[in-house]
């Protein structure tokens, strides 16, 4: 176990934690963590799911209590027994998932919990909004905001509190490119004012862009730490993986695929329009993995869910092997042979309290494979077990509750459910979002296997590397329309990134 090698005594640090231990019941989540945060620096904190980052932050914020250890703010020993105490010490955490009040306005949301007069707060708030340069209507109800806008409101809350220590838990996961740039500008401004910022992220590129020091957490301890300048990207990846990780953490080898582009497309969207996208023309060929890149809000998910029967079609057609499946209900779309894995696994994907088997076969209830009236349990179990085995999903048994599995394994089950319906086309929406590096490799391996079965896959992803790695062809969506298509040799991160921002030109120069 390596300690952060900066300061041994909590002398000059803004915030210090020493030897924090925390267990939930018999589950030890933090096993002796020590961190220093100096004034005017951005400390990146990275680690896989379950490493303990969020727990540590919640302890600092007084949301959880810790079993042993010490916390110092400004060299003073503190006991953050409640959030109120943490807030009074000018420590503020912007949570990963926005925790706004849906029925209150933006303005009310930001000013909740302050002990000042309403008029004072209004002027302060306006100043903060102007400073940050974001355009936000303060009178809008929070339940009408997009996730990105909700994030912004949370960040504004932190700024309003003039915190000395600001904790940002994956703040950019839902932000668009220009919003991220604006955020970084704000962070740099706060840093220059002497505020200490702990920046938690899954995006390694951001570490190099914004942070001066980095801590890598793994399995409840700090595995590595140091100045960002001393690390390369591979160093970070190595630090994230457990010591004996197989090379599954590295991207799976892609088999060379030759797609017959002269054959009829298996899925075709013709002038397809709906809420959030317009005049989409798209062809997906048999056995192809087509990447669909674009920034958050480009309309990819909306297009996919509309195909899937979740929203009204405003125009155009969807053809599956020539058959018109436009506007069909979800049940009929699945029966026809198209299935969809949502990007929000928690909300739209998993039945947390039910077993692995029930989760795997939930989409089969429409057909007859697991029975007409009575459930054919053995068939159900057989199907489930086959997917569990094929995907190497870590379960104690097919009757284990899905909520007990890790994110990566949950995702495998959901993918299994989707393929169990024997679809011709599968649309995957951000399949590796929120999954740690080790499981990611597993999911890629699974996808490669499934490609061998001849299923065509539409891969919606914001991870450009992923698209480069896996796709046979790629299209980008920008502001609700398909704006570019790339053949295999033209797929690279720069092109995809540029096209996603509407800045790609044929001759290769940026706008």
């Amino acid at each position: 176990m390596q300690r952060v090698p900066d300061t041994d005594t909590p002398g000059s640090a803004l915030l210090s934690v020493r030897g924090i231990f925390k267990s939930f019941g018999t589950n030890a989540v933090l096993k002796g963590v020590s961190i220093d945060l100096l004034p005017g620096e951005v400390l990146a904190l990275i680690g896989g799911n379950g490493a303990g980052k969020s727990t540590l932050m919640k302890i600092i914020m007084g949301i959880y209590t810790y079993d042993s250890g010490e916390i110092y703010v400004d060299n003073e020993r503190v006991e953050h027994n409640s959030t109120k105490e943490a807030l009074s010490r000018s420590v503020y955490m912007v949570p990963q998932e926005p925790l706004l009040f849906p029925n209150m306005t933006v303005g009310e949301n930001i000013t909740m919990g302050f002990d000042k007069s309403p008029s004072e707060l209004e002027t302060e708030l306006q100043a903060a909004v102007d400073e940050i340069g974001w355009h936000l209507d303060l009178s809008r109800k929070a339940n009408t905001l997009s996730i990105a806008e909700q994030e912004m409101v949370e960040i504004l809350r932190g700024i309003m509190r003039h915190s000395k220590v600001l904790i940002l838990d994956e703040p950019t996961s839902a932000l668009a490119f220009d919003e991220v740039k604006a955020l970084f500008g704000v962070i740099k401004g706060l840093r220059d004012k002497g505020i200490g910022i702990i920046y938690i992220t899954h995006r390694l590129a951001e570490v190099f862009e914004i942070a001066s020091r980095v801590c890598i957490m793994r399995d409840g301890i700090i595995a590595m730490a140091g100045n960002v300048s001393e690390f390369t990207r591979d160093d970070l990846v190595k630090g994230l993986l457990p010591p004996n990780a197989e090379k599954t953490a590295e991207r799976a080898e892609k088999a060379a695929r030759s797609i017959d582009y002269d054959a009829d497309p298996v899925l075709e969207l013709r002038d397809f329009s709906g809420y959030g996208f317009k005049h989409v023309n798209l062809k997906l060929y048999p056995g192809e993995m087509l990447g669909l890149a674009g920034v958050v809000g480009a309309g990819r998910t909306e297009m996919a869910t509309t195909v899937f029967g979740r929203d009204k079609v405003l125009g155009g057609k969807v053809l599956l092997n020539g058959r018109d499946i436009t506007g069909l209900s979800t049940k009929k779309v699945i029966a026809a042979g198209v299935n969809y894995v949502s990007e929000d696994r928690f909300c739209y994907g998993i039945f947390s309290l039910r077993s692995v088997a029930e989760n795997t076969t939930s989409a089969l209830l429409g057909g007859k494979r697991i029975g007409s009236f009575f459930l054919k349990r053995d068939e159900e179990n057989r199907i489930t077990q086959s997917y569990v085995d094929d995907f190497r999903t870590k379960v104690t048994g097919i009757s284990q509750d899905l909520g007990d599995l890790s994110g990566g394994n949950q995702q495998k089950i959901v993918i299994g459910r989707t393929f169990a319906t024997n679809p011709k086309v599968v649309i995957l929406d951000e399949p590796t979002r929120g999954i740690d590096a080790a499981s990611r490799g597993d999911v890629y391996a699974v996808l490669q296997e499934l490609r061998q079965t001849g299923v065509s896959i539409l891969l919606i992803s914001s991870d450009m590397e992923e698209v480069v790695e896996l796709a046979d062809r790629a299209v980008t969506m920008y502001q609700g329309r398909i704006n570019h298509e790339f053949s295999k040799r033209d797929i690279n991160q720069d092109n995809l990134m540029a096209a996603s921002f509407g800045a790609y030109h044929e001759d290769g120069e940026d706008a």
Binding site: I147, A148, I334, G349, F351
Partner: protein, 362 residues
Amino acid sequence: MPEDRTKTVEATQTKAAKPGASLLSRITAGQGSWNMLLMALIIIEFVVFGAANPKFLRPQLFFTSLNDSLPVFIISIAVTFVMITGGIDIQVASLVGLTSIIIGVAWQDWGFSIWGAILLAIVVVVACGAFSGFLIAYCRVQAMVVTLGGSFLYSGLALIVSTMSSTESYQGISGFPDAFKFLGGYKFFDVFPLQMAIYLLLLVIAFILLNKSKYGRKVILSGTNPRAAEYSGINTRLTIMSTYMLSAFAAAIAGILLTSYLGTAKSDLGSDLTMDIITAVVLGGTLVTGGRGSVIGVALASFAIGLVRFGMPLCFKVSTQYLDIPIGILLIVIIVGRSAASNTSVGTRLHSLFAGKVTSKA
């Protein structure tokens, strides 16, 4: 990006507010151990009541007294389906009275045959359930409020129907044909009531429906995560609506049997059943938030409650009106105990001792 903000914010709220979700699932996954606890409770009741007054164990008296709890037995099974979908049904009690009075008035004043009257009552009451279910499932109005309004509406309708009869409402309609009274009155070997047998049959059907049929699976999944169910191609709205029709049907059956047993049709039959029904469903292991429930558990729980209602007055001379106290306390203890088990570390440690056993989903 999920565009439905309210849902995302809600889901986040649920996620953040239930850190022990997987712990809770472990606790209630122990439905098998929960059922055993209920069995133990029933055995204790038998022992205590039987010791206090051996008449308790006399079959004739025993079964006759249990008849009083039969409506709760029957209806609570169906309300379990409703609560598994995350809803609640507090209008069932008024549907019992509506069934009864329709039978009475249709047969006596409108010239229906007794079986025609019964059929009419069932159709009307299930339609009421469908109506409420439609509002809940398709118009997305909260179940509590719809069934609250429904309880006013349907009990009011029952009263209005009773005014359409030549008999005064407070008197109740009687004089039913023997064939009808047979349903509620006949006893096998003079001991075991036909009503009970009907109940047991319904119990078996409900068990099969919930655990062995695709419909039951759809009900469970619609309650566990309706959005994920939709994305799996399940028609959650139709499924949820159907559960209210089931509970209405159960109320109708209870109303028929009760009317037959008492020999009188009255519009306010069953008006005080709601608390016992909800208590039975919750005591039986059903999660108020949906996704988990057990037919066997509810049957055992309603039985345990029925025993208290029968045993206390007989064996301890406790007047029936006081019985709300022990049953209320039972409900409180169960619900607090369950919350404590999932929300405190002492509880989870204690429970992991139990949960290691059977994980059958009865």
